[in-house]
Point group: D5
Chain length 156, copies 10
């Protein structure tokens, strides 16, 4: 106890890298749409990946690094393979909760209609993409979110 | 303890009515699409409502009753105001779970893009509809599920 | 194992009595407001008490019994002392959930302002009443729910 | 392991900014009511927003900064878009718990009366405001908390 | 599947016996204090034991049987050894919850003072009794509940 | 990323202040009883308040500060309004757990006897005090803990 | 309350059908291997499907019905589309728990090696089969369970 | 409070050592397969042990240290006896979740077939090894994971 | 809906058989020790097996059947392979809870000493037996419970 | 915000002291048995107490301090009164889990036999000790863990 060993190296993880990207993006006055354009990928993919849900390929990570002036450790962390864990805090936020609530109300109906149309199986969440769009409407514009995944039949 | 009072009346609840509707539909060889057409409502609404997630208006309840030969208590139960409670069993079924998993992966991105496009607020899950469709694809047909709700800004 | 003893008496509990009251009320085409008027109590109190959250005094229980044609066991069960347990199913219904969500967003602010205005203490939920009202509004009528409880200071 | 990379930037989040605002407010001897007046917004909104539940518009954030002598990073953090997550610690505090307890006792009655008065739908928690007031009473003053939200009918 | 075997014997359990005792007590207009007097035991012990938390000795079980006209199966069930399981429903009832809330506020202080006064150890909940009393008070009568258990030191 | 902003101020919270008070008390060889005497309050209140469960009035906070040599930030933190959250760690400690176990065994009986003696209502945990005492007994001294709160009737 | 409506039809669900199949199989002295052979499917698929985890095709359901003498309602229930919900009781049984424990110990390693060998993606649990085998070993025979699923790359 | 005692020594734990090993492995461009070869153990064992699930024998720990240039404290931490705790974050990652989902669907079948083949007992998760392999398949290569453990009969 | 299909067969499960055995044992005035002697097995094994935790071999099941006059369905149910699921109700009973509490206090020490004495591995709970005994002691007799299981080293 | 107050004193807690003791013990090549011998207490008590589950008397704490070269703050922390909280991480480790699993399988039998032998009551976990031993066995040595506690009858 008379000597204190040096504190071990602490590495930046993907979540930390995502927080840095988001805050610097705000400081530079850039929208996510602009970041996505600079990266050359779809907006939902870009936000999800930069916030830590996908490995960002080296080229895209460097493009973000150049856009936001990130140092090498952040660029490295963006490329790491993530562990994709549910985040209960995000799920309980009202903006996200409404989607889970809609699944609670319509989930059994979605399931019944998928089986009726396709047979026993699932919509893949891996071979999958998702879009967020605005649809103008005189009674108030609408948020339109589309889940689009390959059908996978149960196949023994 | 020498006398046994009559057992109190047991009423059919909406969940029970839904199970009866579903099983008789199968026995009569009807698809949900055919039931929806007979009722004159969208398929997702029809399945959700008949399985207990919406009050079924009297006219639609009677149409289903006629189609499936339901007795009056079932027709009455379909019209009751539901308590819309999440069903953990449905949520953990692989076909439904993939939607929650997609929200776990993309929820923060959906939230960020809604705020960027619309400002601080939510997609309504009340002024809302949802569709399930098949999109043909040479690499395997795709399940396309669309959430469509009015944007509601935080408004004090 | 050769003889089967008689099944023990089953008594109707308050929750069961509440379900009977509600269903017969619907069959007779009565609103809760009309039931409350017949009982001579405030509507929120009346619904809560008849659904099992308060002991219904004998006179009110008999008034309901006369109005809906209840048998004696139901009238007895309405008068029992309840155990007031939270019902997670009700709490997760969207109509009720919005109130819990509002408390999640504004709870800390409510607490801070109660302490600032009254000092260290609480709003009583026992010496307490609650109203539900409609306030007309050109942008859409509003639900106005008022919690009104005696302030109780921490007092050693 | 022979070199220690510099620790990545840590940014102040909204919760941290809220703690700074609250403690400096106390040190300067200011009530929330005075802060709200300086900001020009309702007290409940002001407390909730400054503690991290709403994005604070730039003008209001700067007004608070001037009032309390905040540095730029705190003023920036106040303006960020929040993730509004329930806080179980706050919900279990006796002052806040009494509101949840009241909902546990009266939630089903509130739901029944909203549906009876308005039809199938909800009180919005987004197009919504809330007040905390003192009502003098000879038997002990009362805490009066009013929830006021737009009615939203289920609308497919 | 062509024959249905006889349904197996169902035995009355202690919880069921407790419900029978309580309802018959009410129908006969007896208070718990009167039942306790007939049994010759303290009121808290009597209520707890008859509701299923203690084995009721044969003599006391028969005294209750005679008082309330119970049949033999109920008298037998009262004497069974219980499994004493916490009941979350009772614990969340406001009348009981206040005791748990007081332990949440004062538990650490109780622990510190027991250790200061007695050393490292516990109050036994087995060699233990508890009383509920009314203490008149001009500002409103008071509920006085006393926990009285033998101190047990940690003793290896 | 090239500059590191100064780390934001970290304030001492009530829990931290409580840990400092307790450890310095031990180092100075003072019992809680002696601290309570110096503060001029009951022992249970004193321990609970200093460990963070009550706002400590300025005079008492300064008395403790003088007794233990606390600096100003600790004295300030002791006076803050607490959020009184249950602490599952304390609740599961055997010394505290025995009290919850006793409530699990006797809670329904306490509830029944309060209602029988006082009517429908609760023991207040706010207008409330609690004592811990030793009662000599030839079979082993006993821990006697008394809950004493004002009865509050349900009052609409 | 003077008339009791007829109790609504109760349908046999898949779980109930599975219990009937299993008990009659035992009474007839048949192994699962023999049932699988009669059905003409792999043993794991056969047991899982008959216990309610897959829709059993009509032909296989009738084969089982003939083998075990099932009535029509059981044969119908076997063919229903299941909701595949996790069963915590089964998961905590020691024979099944050891598999979850192995995943707790080796799950991160499995994930790392899948990504190293295949890239970012998953083993499908839908396009998937599983075998249970005995491997003789002089130190004690071994249980060998093989998971075999198609690799699905994350594909936007 | 006027003097600050030195902060106590912080030791590197196994999880921290695992994070260092993984990040340095990536920086040096080494696959887990190459690390396993350098260590001379099976790949699944190597990854699990280095990430903290097994004590790494001194020789293997030093081999890894030499390969990656680890300092002594990391090499020491790798050798420590672990507490093998489930990691809910890893378990909910889609790549690992599919294995738990497969157990949810097939667990009861695995159990039934083990008992049928071996009698009452379990597959050991201690006398156990596991492999991850790729099986080429024209319809898409397959992930093949094999659990191989000694059968242990219940033996009193 | 005009015809009601016959209710499907209900089979007695192991838990139900255990309740029948226990109640008939009490009615016949037999101790578990006497039942164990009649069965010819150790008392702990006998109680556990008859209450549903082990398959009872045919001979032992018939011996119990003869002793207690059980009908064939009960004797059959005793022989079924159990799913051994934890029972939270039993675990929270004070008599059983004390064992879990002792593991909470001494578990880490047990683990450390097993590893020190035997190396990395576990005590088997499968190749395992357990005894309950009374040890006379002038300060009060003692309950002595011994866990005795084969050591299993981690063996890849 | 322009000045940063000094960070408050951080004290070493019992858990931290335990981690220091364990790591220094390893570095000095001492077994727990040797530490126990130096302290003069039983091994299980010694490990549990030093890892934070018991207050270590001053003399024993100083003996450990001398053995391992601990500084004064660590020696002080070892003597503190612990809050004995269950540690879910330890409980889920396979070596410890097997004991909980054995209680899940045999808990009801232990309870039944304690009541049969001693009457209604418990084994004390306070007046209690526990041993871990190795019993040689030709089929593999066995771990023998003995729970030995005073019987406490329910005594009102």
């Amino acid at each position: 106890m008379t000597t204190t060993p040096p504190e071990p190296v602490r590495f930046l993880d993907k979540a930390g890298a995502g927080r840095i990207v988001d805050r610097l993006r705000i400081r530079r006055g850039l929208t996510w749409a602009e970041v996505a354009q600079a990266v050359g990928r779809a907006p939902v993919w870009t936000v999800a990946a930069l916030l830590g849900k996908h490995p960002v390929p080296a080229e895209e990570a460097q493009a973000v690094g150049a856009l936001l002036g990130l140092d090498d450790e952040v660029v490295e962390a963006l490329q790491l393979q993530p562990t994709r864990t549910p985040d209960p805090e995000t799920a309980s936020d009202p903006t996200v909760y409404r989607f889970h609530e809609a699944l609670d109300v319509y989930g059994a109906a979605i399931k019944a209609l998928i089986h009726e149309e396709f047979g026993d199986g699932i919509m893949s969440a891996i071979n999958f993409h998702l879009t967020v769009a605005r649809r103008p409407d005189p009674d108030g514009d609408r948020v339109v979110v589309t889940f689009d995944g390959k059908f996978l039949p149960y196949q023994w």
